[in-house]
């Protein structure tokens, strides 16, 4: 087996977080190598709804600054389109959805309240179920596949490297620093390590002596055949998130998830379920004038969450040159900013543009060891047995 050349920064995980970090580092001239067990973007990064509107996050301002210029920065199309609409089918929903306005307004972003007439004008596929809505003049949506490939190609344009089909089996460390990543293709030396391995982040961080608590779950989406383009593609409501793609398809998700016990290694299967029918029913309620459109696919993704659902982007205490990152099931839209934050942590030791203290691992210092059971996040007996 020929020796694989190491890199100044080795990133474990070719998802959207790892690739964005790789791109941010490479464009600063850093020698960076991304390791991926299968194909890049094959997990949650390539299976999400493409939303870019996370007003609860400290990365929100940077997310909003970057998305409109990502095509230009990357040199590849992301299909980003700005702004979103949320339709309400009841006064109760109208009140609930209003919370987003306050969060965004506090950070300097505007929204408009839509009456029935305005909502129907802006969303031609809407129907008589709508009682009103909100027009968020921020955020938007992009195409996950294209964005992800854009990060990868842009990183390669700056000299970064990607090794697909490479499984990490362990780490070598000396004096409290990781010196090499052990893989099924041999050891790969590094000066710094970024762990952004999605559901595998928990298991791999435990090998480094400081476990990031995560639990995996399966979520699902559906997509219809193309329909005439609405003026604004990012339309949510009725318990669904999603978008009309630039091709015209309606891609939507939402509803219950299933907590999973994952096998140690490898790419987990991602079966769908008849939940497709319930998503379809809700989509027809959200956009009644699309009820004739046919569902042509459903798909599922396996996603990790931390106990509080908030990201971890932090340096490990146990290994000084390691940054761990999980975006806890909300990673795609934040990826331009999360990659920037990871770059800052790796090179400068601190995030330069936002207070990300709420992403610190130390918040779990007093976490109950049986937190999964306490939160009811245990895998069903069938999957636990089958994955054992």
């Amino acid at each position: 087996m020929s020796e694989i050349k190491g890199a100044s920064v080795v990133i474990v995980g070719g998802g959207v977080t790892g690739l964005s970090a790789g791109w941010w580092l490479a464009r600063d001239g850093v020698d960076v190598l991304v390791l991926e067990k299968g194909l890049i973007g094959w997990e949650a990064s390539g299976r999400n709804g493409g939303g870019c509107s996370h007003h609860h996050s400290p990365l929100f301002a940077e997310e909003q600054r970057l998305w409109p210029i990502m095509d230009e920065l990357l040199g590849y199309p992301t299909e980003f389109r700005g702004e979103r609409i949320r339709l309400a089918a009841s006064e109760h929903q109208m009140a609930l959805y209003g919370r987003a306005l306050r969060n965004a307004e506090r950070q300097g972003f505007q929204s408009a309240v839509l009456d029935v007439k305005q909502a129907k004008e802006m969303v031609p596929l809407a129907g008589d179920t709508v009682v009103g809505g909100y027009h968020y003049k921020f955020g938007g949506h992009a195409n996950p596949h294209r964005t992800l490939q854009g990060y990868a190609w842009a990183m390669q344009d700056h000299g970064g490297r990607i090794l697909q089909h490479t499984t990490v089996t362990g780490f070598r460390s000396e004096g409290g620093r990781v010196t090499a990543v052990e893989t099924d293709r041999g050891p790969i030396g590094c000066d710094s390590l970024v762990l952004a391995a999605g559901p595998q982040t928990g298991r791999l961080s435990a090998m480094l002596g400081q476990e990031v608590p995560v639990q995996s779950a399966r979520c699902e989406m559906i997509v219809t055949e193309p329909l005439p383009l609405m003026p604004l593609g990012g339309v949510d409501g009725c318990g669904l998130y999603g978008r009309q793609t630039l091709r015209g398809n309606l891609a939507y998700g939402g509803g219950p998830h299933e907590w999973l016990a994952l096998a140690e290694e490898g790419t987990p299967a991602k079966p769908t379920t008849p939940l497709m029918l319930h998503m379809g029913k809700r989509l027809a309620e959200l956009l009644p004038k699309a009820a004739h459109a046919r569902i042509i696919r459903s798909w599922a993704g396996v996603i990790e969450n931390t106990p509080d659902g908030r990201p971890v982007i932090d340096r490990l205490d146990a290994q000084a040159n390691v940054v761990v990152a999980t975006l806890s099931s909300v990673g795609f839209g934040l990826s331009p900013a999360s990659g920037h934050a990871i770059r800052d942590l790796v090179l400068d030791g601190a995030c330069s543009f936002a207070d990300i203290s709420s992403f610190k691992l130390s918040r779990f210092a007093e976490l109950e060891p049986n937190w999964r059971e306490l939160q009811g996040w245990q895998a069903s007996a069938a999957t636990a047995m089958l994955s054992a």
């Binding site: 609860h56 400290p58 040199g75 590849y76 199309p77 299909e79 609930l96 919370r99 969060n103 294209r146 190609w153 990607i162 089909h165 779950a217 399966r218 219809t224 318990g239 669904l240 998130y241 630039l246 091709r247 509803g255 219950p256 299933e258 299967a269 079966p271 769908t272 379920t273 008849p274 939940l275 497709m276 029918l277 319930h278 379809g280 029913k281 809700r282 989509l283 027809a284 004739h292 046919r294 569902i295 459903s298 969450n305 509080d308 659902g309 806890s328 099931s329 709420s358 779990f364 210092a365 007093e366 109950e368 306490l374 939160q375 009811g376 245990q378 069903s380 069938a382 089958l386 994955s387």
Partner: protein, 536 residues
């Protein structure tokens, strides 16, 4: 021990609305499916047999579930007549009714669901069924898949014109519906499946002008070739179709001789015909099994991607068997339905029995390398085409755009800085993956669900990466394996608990607390699990 409550936002404790439960569900009412259904009923089991035929005319128009290529005669619009013709063309359908099988024609199975390492929600085997009006969920103790065969698509300029269709679609229209439109056709491919199709069409009154074969010699059974020759059919080996010409539909096929390198020459002839039947690669229908997570692998002796089976036709999914053409296609099986029926009988005998661990007996080795053969067709017809055409008709993607991994044209994306994003730049190491290329080019992403292009795209990727066809992974199938209008989903209600707790995302209060209000420490005890959720 204290047993904690489950996350109310998860699927745990949310029953699926199952319409009915049966002992055995048989999907497909061909020779194997009928034998399985009648045999299982004879064992005293309650059997539901669904077959999507007769296919509604408009569905055929979308090339679902087969590449019908607008080859339907006008009488295919008459659904009652098609129902009668379909039943009359297969006496064992009546036998199945009499044996007490619950036979439902015009009912498609669009999804199959089984628990596995990453799915524990199913109460057992669950299938999604749909007729023209509604979709329902059915639970079955056993499922026997008898879904049949389909054909590899093969493009050339003009192949989108009405009259270019797959052999299986042609065969069904001619022999089961009595509704085949074209009167004079050429057949592409000289394998046994192509020749059997040609003879069946001839018996239905269709003129077979020529068999067109890119290989230097025919690859199918000699006696069938002799019969066709005697009937006046030209056997044109070393030829491909250069173009289908015609104003609104196929009127002429331009056919060219290949040189010794397999490249088309200027030696062309025009063959007047109103149909071009594609039979260059007959392949098992594995959509339901693959979507359910069952194991399939490229098995040349079974006609391409086929289920991994044991000696009793068991698939890798517990209590799911595959029989008939969907379990593998080879010349002898194509010519003798008794082979498919014997598979069905074995599966029925094994219902409820413990697996022996015996592997299935391997079919006879193919007389020719089907991987090389299919690649040769793609090279001669698609890559050497004299004009660009859409390999993926739904999304209008050309062969060049697939091989160069181009963003779709609706983006109008022109990157002047980098123009060398070839397949190899995408891949790094490992074989090219059609699903990855699909995501970037949209080839195979349309409403026909890749039925017309998936084998061609695999062929293009194999040629582009200089890999054998068998190295290219199967482009994944996803439920619904038949397109389903959103409106049809309304008949399956949500469980009350599911509706009550439905949330856009995980329904976690803590996840959406704005960052300026996040507490320094997180513990389950201090968390307000019932707090508001921004995404609800």
């Amino acid at each position: 021990m204290n047993i904690p409550a489950s996350d109310p936002k998860s699927v745990t404790g949310k029953p699926l609305p199952i319409d009915e439960t049966v002992d055995v569900l048989v999907v497909g009412g061909g020779p194997a499916g009928l034998e399985a259904a009648i045999g299982a009923a004879a064992r005293g089991l309650g059997v539901l047999l669904v077959d999507e035929n007769p296919i509604p005319f408009t569905t055929m128009g979308d090339d679902v579930p087969l590449h019908f290529g607008q080859g339907m005669a006008a009488n295919a619009r008459n659904r009652n007549a098609m129902m009668e013709a379909f039943i009359a063309s297969e006496p064992r359908i009546e036998e199945a009714f009499e044996a007490g099988v619950d036979v439902r024609l015009g009912t498609a199975c669009w999804g199959l669901y089984a628990n596995g390492p990453t799915l524990g929600w199913m109460p057992g085997l669950v299938a999604g069924l749909a007729d023209a009006e509604r979709s329902v969920l059915v639970q079955a103790r056993h499922v026997i898949l008898a879904c049949g065969r389909r054909d590899m698509g093969l493009g050339f300029p003009g192949w989108e014109k009405p009259g270019v269709l797959g052999a299986t679609a042609a065969l069904n229209l001619a022999t089961r519906y009595g509704a085949f439109g074209p009167r004079k056709v050429i057949v592409l491919g000289s394998n046994t499946e192509a020749l059997v199709t040609a003879i069946a069409l001839r018996e239905a009154g269709v003129t077979i002008a020529a068999i067109v074969e890119q290989a230097p010699e025919p690859v199918g059974d000699e006696d069938l070739l002799a019969s066709l020759r005697q009937g006046g059919t030209d056997i044109l080996t070393g030829h491909v179709v250069r173009e289908a010409v015609g104003r609104d539909a196929v009127e002429v096929a331009m056919v060219a001789r290949l040189d010794e390198n397999g490249r088309p020459t200027g030696d062309e002839r025009a063959i007047a015909c109103d149909g071009i039947v594609l039979s260059v690669g007959t392949t098992p229908v594995v959509d339901l099994l693959d979507a359910a997570g069952g194991k399939v692998s490229f098995q040349a002796e079974r006609g391409g991607y086929a289920p991994v089976l044991d000696a009793d036709q068991r698939t890798s999914l517990a209590h799911v068997h595959a029989v008939g053409d969907c379990a593998g296609i080879w010349p002898a099986k194509t010519r003798d339905r008794a082979i498919a029926e014997a598979e069905a009988a074995r599966a029925v005998a094994a219902l409820g029995q413990v697996a022996t661990g015996n592997k299935s007996e391997s079919p006879p080795a193919p007389a020719y390398d089907i991987g090389d053969y299919r690649l040769a067709w793609v090279r001669a017809s698609v890559i050497e085409a004299r004009a660009e055409f859409h390999v993926c008709q739904c999304e209008e993607v050309t062969a060049r755009e697939i091989l160069e991994v181009r963003p779709p044209r609706y983006l109008d994306w022109r990157d002047e800085r980098r123009n060398d994003r070839s397949l190899s730049a995408l891949l790094g190491e490992g074989p090219p993956n059609p699903d990855q290329v699909k995501r970037l080019t949209r080839a195979g992403m349309g409403p026909c669900q890749g039925r017309r292009c998936r084998e061609q795209v695999a062929g293009l990727l194999a040629l582009g990466a200089a890999q054998p066809l068998s190295a290219i992974p199967l482009a994944g199938y996803r439920a619904p394996v038949r397109p389903m209008p959103l409106a049809m989903t309304a008949h399956v209600p949500e469980a009350p608990g599911q509706a009550e707790h439905w949330d856009t995302w995980f329904g976690m209060h803590a996840q959406w607390v704005p960052f300026w209000e996040v507490p320094e420490r997180y513990t389950v005890a201090s968390n307000d699990a019932t707090g508001p959720v921004a995404s609800e």
